[in-house]
């Protein structure tokens, strides 16, 4: 289990517990449940690279404690 930080930079900071072999899509659902938004509207980014829904966190090498940028489409 890893814990990933998602920061909105507008006041929303969420820490989500998940498994490394979860896909980004599932991760987005978790984030949405915690933030209270629509999972389809969430966009996770790291600097300029947007994370795609069908790839696992492990493949993206997202480890425990890493933070991702939270945007909305």
């Amino acid at each position: 289990m890893i814990e990933v930080l998602c920061n909105d930079r507008l006041g929303k900071k969420v820490r989500v517990k998940c498994m490394p072999d979860d896909t980004i899509g599932d991760f987005k659902k978790l984030v949405a449940a915690q933030t209270g938004t629509d999972p389809r509207r969430i966009v996770l980014r790291k600097w300029h690279s947007t994370y795609k829904d069908n790839i696992t966190l492990a493949d993206y090498e997202i480890h425990d404690g890493m933070s991702l940028e939270l945007y909305y489409s």
């Binding site: 289990m1 814990e3 900071k13 969420v14 989500v16 498994m19 493949d59 425990d64």
Partner: protein
């Protein structure tokens, strides 16, 4: 790791697990932090590196399998081929064609030409000697179809069949294939006719060449008739025919049907020696009537001619008046004019009037000029003419005044009018008379000069009269002195003319003036009435104010009172105005003018201003052009000076 929570929200594990289950995900694999690092690594490794290893292994296995399969397939296929071969060998005995060819190839592998040639020769020899043994086998094995053999001896004898060629030609060829010649179905030409294609072509070519040689070239300088001498009518085509006689013997024969054919082919005979009648020679030039060219006048002549036309009028006009001393007063002295004309005549005479035609033309011109003179008028001419006429008339008058009898003409009427005026206005002061007399002689107007002239004459008279006496002529002098100066303006001129009776006011103009006066009177009356009422109203207001009645009223009452007063006065004024309009006789004139400034009658007004505008359609092209042209002509006419 999760130490620095900060402002970050975080769900507990249980909640997260609940959420995950609800989403359909596996619950979190919770373990201690120390352990977590390792399993994390493991998880990571399995997730990425291990997977690769697995994949690699899988791939290897797959490759192994494929290889094995391939080998097995190969083996089986080999076994099969060997089996087939064995079967074939058992079936086939002796050398197959392939073997033979292979053997040949082996033999011919040595590519030396000489050796090959020797080999071929040897083979041929072998073939000739041993024909029976091997080929049979070969034939059998090969399973060839035997060539079709025609029977040597046919049941049908060839006797009587005709061939369409010469006997010699048939003999010259080694092999000859004869085909049946095409002919019509119903046409019966004594049976079938065989012909060889090659021989037929040769014959045709031969004939063509001969014809070409025979036809001579075009000789351009020979006469027409001789061209046709070379033409030879086509010979009766007699085809050489051989007939197969008994025992296949060829017999030369002649086609019997040719005669019939030739007669059929000839048709109409035309003898070409008869020359056709030559067509009448057509000239290239059209028939034109040559007109006798007119003698062209030189530029000098034409100029002189033009001047003559113009000056002839004067010439004629002066010719009638003659050299009178009274002609001195005209603007262009007659003397000068006559000099000009004399010069012209001299010029005319200087021209060589050689032929009668010219003379006639000159006379004709003079006659025409005389006619023209009667039509065209120019102010100076008129003045002159009238003046001279008057002078002559005066002379006649003076002559005749001695004799008894009164002649009534313009001067007479003028004098009469003078008398009339004298009767009307006898009360002019003498001072004015004196002052005006001095100015009277300085008339310099350019109105119709007969007035001026006629003025001059009586003035002289008046002056003469005045010098003589004082009282009786004073009256006429009064009248004359009363006349205002022309320098006063157009109005004064108009009044002078009116007094003289030259300018007469027409009846409708008078009517118009009367109406205008009436209208003005009425209008002033109305205005006065209104003004009076306004005065009264104001006066009343003043009185009210001064009486102090208003002081006792409140504001509201004052307003009401004012309102009532206003209403009263308005009613009164309206009533008075209505009364005024009882005798209102306006002159209503509706004038319709279109955009070009042309005044339109009722029909045109309706057409252009109402109908066209209403329907939105104007006239067509032709009509509008006509209209525009008319308008232009009108405007031009207006702009033209009156006397030309």
């Amino acid at each position: 790791m999760s130490a620095n929570a900060g402002a970050a929200d975080s769900m507990s594990i249980e909640e997260t697990n609940k959420l995950r289950i609800s989403l359909g995900l596996k619950p979190l694999d919770v373990s201690d932090t120390s352990e977590q690092s390792e399993p994390n690594q493991k998880v990571q490794s399995t997730s990425s590196l291990d997977q690769e290893a697995i994949a690699l292994q899988n791939w290897k296995e797959q490759e192994e399998k494929k290889r094995i399969e391939r080998e097995q397939n190969e083996i089986t296929s080999k076994i099969q081929t060997i089996r087939q071969k064995n079967d074939q060998r058992r079936r086939v005995k002796g050398r197959s064609l392939a073997d033979i060819l292979a053997a040949e190839e082996e033999e011919t592998s040595s590519e030396d030409t000489r050796s090959w040639v020797l080999k071929m020769r040897k083979k041929a020899l072998e073939k000739n000697t041993s024909e029976s043994a091997a080929p049979k086998q070969i034939q059998k094995s090969i399973n060839r179809k035997p060539a079709r053999e025609f029977p040597k001896e046919s049941a049908v004898s060839l006797e009587g069949i005709r061939i369409a060629h010469d006997f010699q030609k048939l003999n010259s060829e080694n092999e000859l294939t004869l085909t049946l010649r095409d002919s019509d179905v119903l046409e019966d030409n004594n049976g079938d006719l065989l012909e060889s294609n090659e021989i037929a072509q040769q014959e045709a070519l031969h004939k063509k060449l001969e014809e070409q040689k025979a036809s001579s070239g075009y000789k351009p300088y020979e006469d027409e008739g001789e061209i046709y001498n070379d033409f030879k009518p086509k010979k009766d085509s007699t085809e050489a025919v051989t007939v197969i006689g008994e025992n296949n013997a060829l017999v030369q024969g002649k086609d019997t049907t040719d005669e019939e054919k030739s007669t059929a082919k000839q048709g109409i005979r035309v003898s070409l020696s008869d020359t056709t009648p030559s067509t009448p020679e057509v000239s290239d030039y059209r028939d034109i009537k040559i007109k006798k060219s007119k003698k062209k006048r030189s530029r000098e002549d034409r100029r002189k001619r033009k001047i003559d036309d113009v000056e002839d009028n004067e010439f004629q006009s002066n010719a009638t008046t003659g050299d009178t001393p009274e002609a001195q007063n005209s603007t262009f002295t007659a003397q000068e004019k006559q000099d000009n004309i004399r010069r012209k005549i001299q010029g005319l005479n200087s021209q060589s009037i050689v032929e009668d035609d010219d003379l006639q033309e000159v006379l004709a011109l003079q006659r025409r000029a005389a006619q023209k003179k009667a039509r065209t008028l120019r102010p100076e001419q008129i003045a002159e003419h009238v003046q001279t006429q008057k002078n002559t008339e005066e002379e006649i008058n003076e002559d005749e005044s001695n004799s008894k009898g009164m002649i009534i003409n313009d001067t007479r009427s003028f004098v009469d009018s003078l008398q009339q005026v004298e009767n009307e206005e006898p009360f002019i002061s003498p001072d004015e008379k004196q002052g005006e007399e001095a100015h009277e002689n300085k008339y310099t107007i350019t109105v119709p000069t007969n007035i001026e002239l006629s003025n001059n004459v009586p003035e002289e008279e008046a002056a003469v009269v005045e010098d003589n006496g004082s009282q009786p002529p004073q009256k006429t002098a009064d009248v004359l002195e009363d006349e205002p100066l022309v320098s006063g303006g157009v109005g004064t001129v108009l009044s002078i003319l009116k007094n003289k009776g030259v300018v007469k006011v027409s009846a409708e103009a008078q009517e118009k003036m009367r109406r205008e006066e009436e209208y003005n009177k009425w209008f002033t009356k109305k205005q006065n009435a209104r003004r009076e009422l306004e005065e009264q109203r104001r006066h009343q207001k003043e009185q009210d104010r001064s009486s102090g009645k208003l002081n006792h009223m409140t504001q509201k009452e004052r307003e009401q009172y004012a309102k009532r007063e206003n209403e009263k006065w308005d009613r009164l004024i309206a009533k008075v105005e209505m009364e005024q309009f009882q005798d209102y006789k306006p002159e209503v004139n509706i004038r319709y003018v279109d955009e070009f400034g042309v005044e339109l009658g009722p029909k045109e007004a309706y057409k252009y201003l109402l109908s066209h505008q209403f329907h939105g359609k104007g006239s067509g092209k032709a009509k509008t052009e006509k209209r525009l042209r008319k308008i232009e002509d009108m405007k031009k006419q207006e702009r033209k000076p009156i006397f030309e």
